[in-house]
């Protein structure tokens, strides 16, 4: 029987990179799943949770649990949002036995996308091609909360023509951190500058990661520095979309000033 997968699109993919969402759907279908996108999903609630707004975080978490608990699996194209469901929802409801039980059940069937694809290995083969060297950036949540470390690398290695490059300091945070990057821009700048230098030093032409937050931050820094490295969500590379315009890249036609006046 084909498993029914609920796709938590994530607010950043929804807003900034729909193509990564469609790539995730294509990969999940190729892996023999029926993909459902619950229409009333918004965000996992992490911005409220990490800002100390526990009441709103709980309200948003309840709504997410209601939306997603009917599915066999919940798959998230983000280590950070997957970690929110897997690690932090149970913590949020620790004092509320009814909701804690529901949160724990949801947590146990929530996966970061590449983790889930590797679990479906028997039903799934990567058919994409990508001619070039790809550096992989571990988001802190994929690395430490979801421990999705080997999976994205294994899938990328299976892409024909692709050479995977390691960063010198793969465990260092890129400086995104949600609202941290705008609350403490100078510190965030120090962090993302180091990360960008590490990426450029690999000589890779492309950067892939499981998390769009990191990607927006890193792609924004690389382009501000005039670097040519092209940034993609890992799902896009795995779905063979590495030739499309990269994150923050021109969509063709004449250049616009890229400036808005209030």
């Amino acid at each position: 029987m084909r498993p029914r997968v609920g796709l938590l699109v994530t607010c950043l993919v929804d807003l900034f990179r729909p193509q990564a969402g469609f790539a995730a759907v294509a990969l999940l279908e190729a892996a023999g799943c029926d993909v459902v996108v619950p229409p009333a999903q918004t965000c996992c609630g992490q911005p409220a949770y990490n800002s100390g707004d526990r009441a709103d975080a709980i309200a948003i978490a309840r709504q997410t649990i209601e939306q997603f608990e009917p599915f066999d699996h919940i798959v998230v194209p983000s280590g950070s949002c997957a970690g929110m469901l897997r690690v932090h929802y149970p913590a949020l409801f620790a004092d509320d036995p009814d909701w804690a039980a529901r949160a724990n059940k949801l947590a146990a069937k929530t996966f970061e996308l590449t983790q889930f694809l590797v679990r479906r290995e028997a039903a799934f083969a990567i058919t994409a091609e990508h001619d070039g060297a790809v550096a992989f950036h571990d988001s802190c949540s994929a690395l430490r909360e979801m421990k999705s470390i080997a999976e994205p690398r294994a899938l990328l290695r299976a892409v024909r023509g692709l050479t995977l490059r390691d960063l010198a300091d793969p465990e260092a945070c890129c400086g995104f951190g949600g609202t941290f990057c705008v609350k403490y821009p100078a510190i965030s700048d120090d962090m993302v500058t180091r990360k960008a230098a590490d990426i450029v030093a690999t000589g890779a032409d492309t950067l892939a990661s499981c998390d769009l937050g990191c990607l927006l931050n890193i792609a924004g820094k690389l382009s501000r520095e005039g670097k040519a490295t092209r940034c993609f969500h890992v799902a896009e590379i795995l779905a063979g979309l590495g030739d499309a315009p990269a994150i923050g890249e021109a969509r063709g036609g004449e250049a616009s000033p890229g400036r808005v006046t209030p």
Binding site: Q41, T42, C43, P47, C140, V182, I187, D189, G258, R259
Partner: protein, 473 residues
């Protein structure tokens, strides 16, 4: 320490990032500590099991702290020493001063003690005409420079070698001004020579304690320079200054904690010196103090026992969380504005001085979690930072603009239709601003982002809108 600038963390951080000497000095944190720790741990397969054991010991102590403190006191008295209980920093200063007065002290030598910094003992002694002399090389350097420690175990990590040479030339005026101070060894020899006479002249020696052993009444310190031993054994009066949570029940427990401490701190298997002190000199002992005092300070800690903040009191001050923290690496310790810096400082400072005086510290983290990953006693640092943010948010310390922004966003996120509409509008707007270039270089109200990096612009329509259309909803 009287001045607390934690509330100005943002300003402090910007100044630190612009300080070229400091940035050179901070480069050593990455190179020295992280690699050495990684090597030491790779060589000990049972390290994670040891961390579990260390965490369990610390939790057990904190759950039975009253019992162990009383047992410790009884043992110290048995050995002929005295224990002084101090609820506040003020009590601790007064107690130490009265011990020094009793000893008719002119000079006090000191081993490195963070609780000494916390209660501001040096300034207080100096104001009472007693000269405190730091004997740890790093502490000695910053004492000459009129600074405070910027790191738990490497207090002068923010100072470059050239700055040390300049400091020595300024203060050691009896030496040949033309002498060479190029080599670290020369600097070390000069400091050692200067300190030798102080050790012999001191009337009282004050050291901290890495652990207080309840079963034996002993204080334990670890050092790499041997200065702690000289501070403890040469003066007639010895004071061990420690905070209440430093208890280890038995010597066996201490040995577990020591095994994770040195590896986490400096990547050593053991520190060069691990020194145990047990009461005053007995008849027939070759050396040791005549008077032995232990000053145990609470200073606000006990109110967190039994609360969700209790795990912060497991800390054994190894500094691994500082060394691995990208924020600490960027700005160093002084930016945190009080005694304790880095991730553990961002939790301890609000606890000990009040969240109203330190509210930026828990916010100044990307919650990357590397601190928790390396903590030898598994303190859930990101969870505790988040817990402080909740306190700040509830009490209104987190800034009214940030608060309003989150409340507005959450209002929408709790209403899917409104959220759909708002995100569709945001996507269209940013797409227009980004134009064909695909990125935004300047955006009003988002300067925190666009001052340092471009904002990749959305392509136009949200995923949810495109999905709904494709599915014909």
């Amino acid at each position: 320490m009287s001045t607390i600038t934690s509330a100005r963390f943002g300003e402090n951080a910007r100044a630190a990032l612009a300080d070229k000497q400091l940035q050179v000095a901070l480069g050593h944190v990455r190179i020295n500590f992280i690699e050495k720790r990684a090597k030491a741990i790779a060589a000990l397969p049972e390290f994670d099991a040891l961390r579990d054991a260390a965490r369990d010991i610390r939790d057990h102590v904190l759950n039975h702290l009253d019992l162990y403190l009383e047992r410790f006191e009884a043992k110290v008295i048995e050995h002929g020493g005295q224990v002084h209980w101090c609820a506040s920093a003020e009590d601790a200063r007064a107690t130490i001063l009265s011990i020094c007065r009793e000893a008719d002290a002119k000079t006090v030598t000191k081993g490195k003690t963070m609780i000494g910094e916390e209660i501001g003992i040096n300034d207080f002694l100096a104001a009472n005409d007693i000269v405190p002399v730091e004997t740890d090389l790093g502490e000695y350097i910053i004492q000459l420079r009129g600074e405070t420690p910027s790191h738990l175990i490497a207090p002068a990590i923010h100072v470059t070698k050239n700055q040390v040479s300049d400091t020595f030339r300024t203060h050691h005026t009896d030496l040949d001004p033309m002498r060479s101070l190029e080599e670290p060894q020369t600097l070390l020899a000069e400091a050692r020579d200067k300190l030798r006479s102080k050790f012999l002249a001191a009337d009282v020696g004050i050291t901290g304690a890495n652990f207080l052993i309840a079963a034996t009444g002993q204080g334990v310190i670890v050092t790499n320079e041997g200065n702690g031993d000289l501070t403890q054994t040469l003066p007639k009066t010895q004071i061990v200054l420690a905070s209440i949570e430093k208890i280890a029940p038995t010597l066996e427990d201490a040995s577990v904690l020591l095994r994770v401490l040195a590896r986490s701190a400096t990547g050593q298997e053991m520190s060069v010196y691990t020194s145990f002190t047990t009461g005053p000199r007995r008849a027939g002992d070759l050396d040791g103090p005549e008077n032995f005092h232990v000053v145990i300070v609470d200073n606000g800690r006990s109110q967190y026992l039994g609360t969700e903040f209790q795990p912060m009191l497991r800390c054994i001050r190894c500094a691994a969380c500082l060394n691995h923290c990208p924020v600490y690496q960027a700005v160093g310790g002084h930016a945190y504005g009080w005694v304790y810096s880095g991730p553990i400082g961002a939790i301890l400072t609000p606890a000990l001085v009040g969240i109203d005086r330190a509210s930026p510290l828990p916010e100044a983290s990307s919650l990357c979690g590397r601190c928790e990953q390396v903590c030898p006693v598994r303190i859930p640092i990101p969870s505790l930072l988040r817990r402080w943010r909740e306190v700040s948010f509830a009490d209104g310390h987190s800034g009214s603009r940030a608060r309003l922004a989150i409340r507005l966003w959450a209002f929408a996120a709790r209403r899917p239709l409104l959220y759909r509409g708002a995100s569709a509008m945001a996507a269209r707007l940013m797409s227009l601003v980004g134009g064909k270039r695909g990125r935004i270089r300047h955006m009003p109200l988002a300067a925190g982002w666009t001052d340092i990096r471009d904002l990749p612009a959305p392509a136009g329509r949200t995923f949810m809108a495109q999905w709904a259309r494709a599915k014909g909803d």
